[in-house]
Amino acid sequence: MRKFIYQFIALSFATTATFAQATISPAKPQSGTIAIVGGTIHVGNGQVIQNGTVIFSKGKIISVKEGNAVPQDIAIVHAEGKQIYPGFIAPNNALGLVEVQSVRATRDAQETGTINPHVRSLIAYNTESRIIPTVRSNGTLLSQPTPEGGLVSGTSSIVQLDAWNWEDAAYKKDMAVHFNWPTSKQPAEGRRFGGATLTEEQQKERYQKQLTELNNYFAEAKAYASTEKPNTFNARFDAMKGLFNGTKKAMVNVNNQKDIIVAVKFFESFGITPVLVGAEDAVEITGFLKDHNVPIIMYESQSLPANDDDDVYLPYKNAKILHDAGLLIAMSADGYWQQRNLPFMAGVSAAYGLTKEEALATITSNTAKILGIDNMTGTLEVGKDANIIISEGDALDMMTNNITTAFIQGRSIDLNNVQKQLYKKYAEKYGIKAD
């Protein structure tokens, strides 16, 4: 055992008093090998190693073992009594695309028009967002900035949350196309502007028309994808190519149980297994979903039941129900700044049925699998990126979540953020101890 201790100053209020957001710089690449010693390792796949050691080098994990035996002369991070997790992954959100919801100029998540597979969230992802550091300091290290709106919203990428610009941030580029599935369910009345309600027949007709249009569109897109050199370049069809050869995921926002069935069958008819997003009614048709092997990115657990008659805790229990049905599920949080509460969304599932490790998987390994990045991240296993967080306590519980250290691809991240800076500033004003 070596005697020298590498001192990480992940966050130190003492030195940040005069800093502002602008000085929270992305970390430099990992130089030496680092070992995290003595903590409880939550691998992310259900496995827990008490008093274990994680070693990583050049951004990759090279060893995950029980005990605290460490080779000579490598940097050590002491984590005795602490909890070590893979960095959390926030799927399907607007972090970095929206800065202030009510200010139009800061909203870049929704393009006009209905079919926009070609618009790419990656290039709008703002690494200077003041919000990103507040999310990452709660343990989320990867995110999927996602276009919204329309029928086909656009193409998303996975980013890591510590970067100079979007090129640096890109973790997996242009990996999914997002859909908002039309619904067959019509609200009771067109209340908004006293609008007339459609009759049942009109409603069915409209829905079928939408489906036919979609079907025609997909047929053309598929034909386009099958030619090496199309006669005329079509940016939209071009963006959809990946759906047919498996390089892009189809992520489909759909909630109603009938719509889910229609959507799944539709994508299957084009050889695509979709990822469902939201899928409020999934609990009603778990058999169907299992038969079709459809993974689900669930709507946040901290939400209200859709119906008055539902179990009041239904959104809390959804994860357990879907998990027990053998489905692959990931947890999400709505919005952008709210991503910092993602770990607690998983925590709620653990309070209502899942084991804590199962709940952890819904924001780490499961998410990585669903997003197709499980070869790179999602668990603390040898060969994967060193995306690691260390928390003082249980990171899925807001009462104990306290991230003291985080690594993205082995780089030690600055966990400071503008809110901590303001905290420090005003604590000084009143002579309060900021801890």
């Binding site: 939400s303 008659d309 807001m398 104990t400 005003y426 009143y430």
Partner: protein, 1009 residues
């Protein structure tokens, strides 16, 4: 009416005289005295009296006499009604007969320019919804078509009401006669009418139900002031005053509104007659408690289409139960001894009237009561009982002739006489032609003609026996005494034979006439009855006993059939979060009794108490949400004016909101229900305990000082409301300050006026100042009897309001939201202002850009009283976790953090003497948690309010099972109903609307709760 009857709907109008004295006549006068005598009838004089084989004599549109053994004078048309019945014709107390179609309701939305005051020409009220000047007698017109429709249903008199506006003016009682408006008007001013709906009024105010209530209350005050002033002439107020001596009818849409209207009535010494929504059975005791009479509709919901189990999920438990129980509503009112009239109002089709009335009778309404509710009761309500309602001398000759008891299935209304004028609904004494005839057609031979089917829809069969036997179907139609038939015998001869003829003799029935054969030749025919028709004896199926579910309180899923009771409970061996000096006690017992905390200590004796083993569990005070918008009916914002201090959330508390139950499941026991943040001075707030199943009044926190909502920043200056909303002052933070300065300046002047007036020893010659509900509330603030909770975000405006308060001499109790409280904590401490904030919200709008999750921590450490609130139905049910975030962000101790959602809000609301901590003598509002209450893993297992367990995680599981099985039963019943031929409706999918500060109702009038 059944179509199978022989119906002759031709208009038989006997113009009896032209008694319109004042009208000139073109040509000769045609005066008839309309003398009729109806004999041998069963005369139902009133619901309590029937005369058998009686005589009714009418003359000059009036009843001359009714009884038995009456000699009929000469000169009377005698109509023998042997075996038939005479009833007083029915009265609909709530109709819009003879009035123009109601124009579309106006509603404002964010895409139109605001309208502040009346756009109507003339010296009327400032608000178009106050329109007592509208009088039915000035615009009524006979509507012959509608009149016929009503008469077919048995009505003879209606009360016509202009269903538009909050104060709607007077209604008129008219008969359904069709001669002239002058003739039919029997009471031009039956009642003054009211509702909570602004109708077509273009003025933006009111935008919410609470605004409508405030407007009505202020109108009563203004009208009272108007009597003794000489400052203005106001037609509306003048008329309003004149109408106060009339009966007062208040139209509402549900039972909660009945209570709301009744409260207004109590305040101003009025007892309304309630035209209600048909759901009174859900709170029958409370309805009885109003002391009011009712006019109820029969608009029973149709069964839902539930064949598809996926679609059926869109039908709520409450909708299903209401479908089953709504038809019991009239019976429930009868049983409770409430006086009520029945109206056809709100029916989808007038054809539903008899179907639904009979359904109500099947569900327990007595026939006697049904008749009363359609005759005597409405007659009395409308002050027309001297004219109509019963059959006695001198009353209008308004009566029905029926085949049977009026309410019996299969009864036929033959005639409906209105003011001595006959209207035939279906012909009396129509000969039944059914039977077997011997038909002889000259040149063709003898046939057996069988007439079957039903009277009015005959079927025809012809038979010939012997060598060339035939058996064919034919067609028979009848018009009075004329008949026509055709048939094809197929052989001897072939081709259609067409007969036309007439009734020649009626004993036995004999027809004669001409026949046209297929070959073009003509001949004669005759037919006479040989065997009368024999009805196949139908087995009267014994009526299945109607199985009904129970009424639940509240009437939504998870409502209780019986209110949970106060319990004496001993919690053994819990970790007790006292919020008192004792801190968090391990292995401690708590005893509750009579709704209070009786004892806290080790090894307490159980006595008769129910013992709960709380080992490993945490017992805490109930959570108190300082800022909530649940359980509010139809609008949390009255944002149409910058100052709306007159509106009160207390007027619109809604106990039927499922979020009450959901929040009990999150450990919440007390909620402060706030007006929204659309204007600088919003409405008065209401503190409630989450007493699930109680009425709104019962939910209110007793002995609480009032609060009022203020708001600053982007919402009040309408920053995010779109391009049209740039007119209402203020549009900047600069303007906001001046709104306050102005409002409190006016309030001070107003206060001084009243002080001068009140202190004057001799008041003669003095007029009292106009009482102004808005200024009253501001004066209460100045007097420190009403406290402010102010929605606020950025330091500049917070600082501003502090200065305005200092200079105008009022106090700010709480800044709510206050996400930049950490910047002004010192100023708040200096003035004792509390801060009720969010744990970690930010970035959703510009004014929260500097929000930090350490806000609670800094304010707390700086000495501010800090709470975390929800402003959101979802967050409210996990406020314990939000408090947990104070531990995470800033390392506040667990004990102090938990006070952020319990004791501290109790202190802010000045109720910490009753709730907020576990202390002997305080209310037994407590929660038993599975885990440390600040943890994401903590589940609320039991929640008590006043020692009553309103939430129990195990009982909830049972409730879910009950709901499932009850829904299954109701679905079966609906399917049966559909298979039985009843009409159905599509399940409709409505997302429940959830309120936050920013919610503006698009149309408060169209919502149901």
């Amino acid at each position: 009416m059944k179509k199978t009857l022989l119906l002759i709907f031709t208009l038989f109008t006997f113009f009896i005289a032209n008694a319109q004295e004042t009208y000139p006549v073109n040509g000769s006068f045609d005066i008839r005295s309309g003398q009729f005598a109806f004999t041998n009838a069963n005369i139902v004089v009133s619901a309590n009296q029937m005369i058998k084989a009686g005589t009714l004599i009418i003359k000059d549109k009036k009843i001359e006499s009714v009884g038995t053994g009456i000699a009929i004078p000469k000169g009377y048309v005698v109509i023998d009604l042997k075996g038939k019945y005479i009833y007083p014709s029915l009265i609909d107390a709530f109709s819009s007969y003879g009035l123009p179609d109601a124009p579309r309701q106006s509603f404002s939305f964010r895409g139109s320019q605001p309208v502040f005051t009346s756009t109507k020409d003339g010296a009327y009220a400032w608000n178009e919804a106050i329109r007592p000047e509208m009088k039915v007698n000035t615009i009524f017109n006979i509507d012959a078509k509608k009149s016929e429709e009503l008469k077919k249903n048995g009505f003879g008199t209606v009360n016509s009401i202009i269903k538009d506006g909050i104060a709607r003016g007077t209604s008129s009682a008219v008969t359904l006669g069709t001669e002239s408006a002058n003739e039919v008007m029997i009471n031009p001013s039956t009642a003054a009418n009211y509702s909570f709906n602004k109708g077509t009024a273009k003025t933006d105010y009111p935008q919410s139900l609470m605004g409508a209530i405030a407007l009505l209350r202020q109108t009563y005050l203004d009208a009272s002031w108007y009597k003794n002033q000489n400052k203005e002439y106001n037609i509306s107020l003048d008329e309003f005053n004149k109408q106060q001596s009339l009966p007062q009818i208040f139209e509402v849409s549900n039972w909660e509104d009945v209570l709301r209207a009744d409260k207004v009535g109590d305040e101003f010494g009025k007892q309304y007659i309630f035209k209600s929504g048909g759901d009174e059975y859900q709170r029958i005791a409370a309805m009885k408690g109003t002391g009011g009479k009712f006019i109820i509709p029969l608009n029973f919901p149709k069964a839902y289409d539930v064949e598809d189990p996926a679609d059926a999920k869109s039908v709520t438990y409450a909708q299903m139960k209401n479908w089953e129980l709504a038809p019991t509503n009239p019976a429930a009112l009868e049983k409770a001894g409430i006086e009520f009239a029945i109206t056809t109002a709100d029916l989808e089709s007038s054809k539903d009237f008899w179907t639904n009335l009979r359904t109500a009778i099947d569900n327990g309404l007595s026939e006697q009561q049904a008749l009363k509710s359609l005759t005597e009761i409405p007659a009395k309500m409308l002050g027309i009982d001297a004219e109509v309602g019963t059959l006695s001398k001198g009353k209008d000759a308004n009566f029905l002739i029926t085949s049977d008891s009026l309410f019996k299935k299969g009864n036929i209304i033959f005639e409906n006489w209105v003011q001595g004028s006959r209207f035939i609904v279906s012909q009396m004494n129509v000969k039944d032609l059914r039977g077997d005839y011997s038909l002889i057609i000259a040149g063709v031979g003898n046939l057996t003609m069988k007439v079957g089917g039903s009277v009015g829809a005959y079927d025809l069969n012809l038979e010939r026996t012997g060598t060339d036997s035939v058996k064919v179907k034919g067609t028979l139609s009848r018009n009075g005494d004329l008949v026509s038939m055709f048939f094809d015998l197929k052989k001897n001869p072939k081709g259609d034979i067409r007969l036309t003829g007439y009734l020649d003799k009626s004993e036995p029935i004999t027809f004669k006439g001409e026949a046209a054969l297929a070959d073009g030749s003509n001949t004669n025919w005759s037919a006479s009855l040989v065997a009368p028709f024999k009805e196949k004896a139908k087995k009267e199926e014994p009526k299945a006993k109607i199985v009904l579910g129970s009424v639940i309180y509240p009437f939504v899923a998870y409502g209780y059939t019986e209110a949970p009771k106060q319990e004496t409970v001993l919690f053994k061996n819990a970790t007790v979060w006292t919020n008192e000096k004792d801190g968090i006690l391990q292995n401690t017992d708590v005893l509750i009794e009579n709704g209070k905390i009786k004892a806290i200590g080790k090894n307490l004796a159980a006595g008769s108490a129910k013992v709960i083993d709380a080992t490993g569990k945490h017992l805490t005070p109930g959570i108190i949400d300082e800022h909530s918008h649940i359980a509010i009916s139809r609008g949390v914002n009255e944002g149409t004016q910058a100052v709306t201090a007159e509106v009160r959330i207390g007027d619109v508390v809604d106990g039927e909101d499922i979020n009450i139950y959901r929040q009990l499941a999150g450990g919440v026991t007390t909620s402060h229900l706030l007006h929204g943040s659309a204007n600088p001075i919003g409405g008065q707030t209401q503190l409630v305990k989450l007493r699930w199943g109680q009425t709104p009044e019962q939910m209110k926190f007793a002995g609480w000082e009032g609060f009022i909502k203020f708001a600053l920043g982007e919402n009040v200056k309408q920053s995010n409301w779109g391009d049209f909303n740039t007119i209402r002052f203020p549009q900047t933070r600069m303007g906001v300050e001046q709104v306050y300065v102005d409002a409190f300046t006016r309030a001070k002047e107003y206060k001084a006026q009243w002080e001068t007036y009140n202190s004057a020893k001799n008041k003669s010659g003095l007029t009292a100042p106009r009482k102004d509900l808005e200024l009253d509330a501001l004066v209460e603030i100045l007097n420190d009897t009403r406290h402010i909770t102010c929605h606020s975000y950025v330091q500049s405006e917070i600082n501003m309001l502090i200065h305005v308060a200092d200079s105008m001499g009022f106090k700010i109790n709480t800044f709510t939201h206050i996400l930049e409280g950490y910047k002004v904590a010192d100023k708040m401490v200096a003035r004792g202002i509390a801060g009720s904030t969010f744990a970690d919200w930010w970035a959703y709008k510009m004014e929260v850009w500097d929000a930090i999750p350490y806000n609670g921590k800094i304010m707390h450490d700086a000495g501010v009283l800090v709470a975390f609130n929800s402003d959101d139905a979802e967050m409210a049910r996990r406020l314990n976790q939000e408090a947990g975030k104070a531990v995470k962000y800033g390392n506040v101790s667990k004990e102090e953090a938990f006070k952020f959602v319990t004791l501290n809000p109790a202190k802010m609301l000045h109720i910490d003497n009753k709730v907020g901590s576990l202390k002997v003598g305080k209310d037994a509002d407590l929660v038993l948690w599975s885990d440390e209450p600040l943890s994401v893993y903590a589940r609320a297992e039991e929640t008590y309010v006043d020692g009553i367990k309103y939430w129990d995680i195990d009982k909830d599981a049972d409730q879910q099972k009950t709901i499932k099985s009850e829904e299954a039963r109701l679905i079966q019943k609906m399917l049966d109903s559909k298979n039985g031929g009843s009409k159905t409706q599509r399940p409709s999918f409505t997302k429940p609307s959830l309120n936050t500060c920013d919610t503006i109702e698009e149309n408060y009038q169209t919502q149901t709760n």
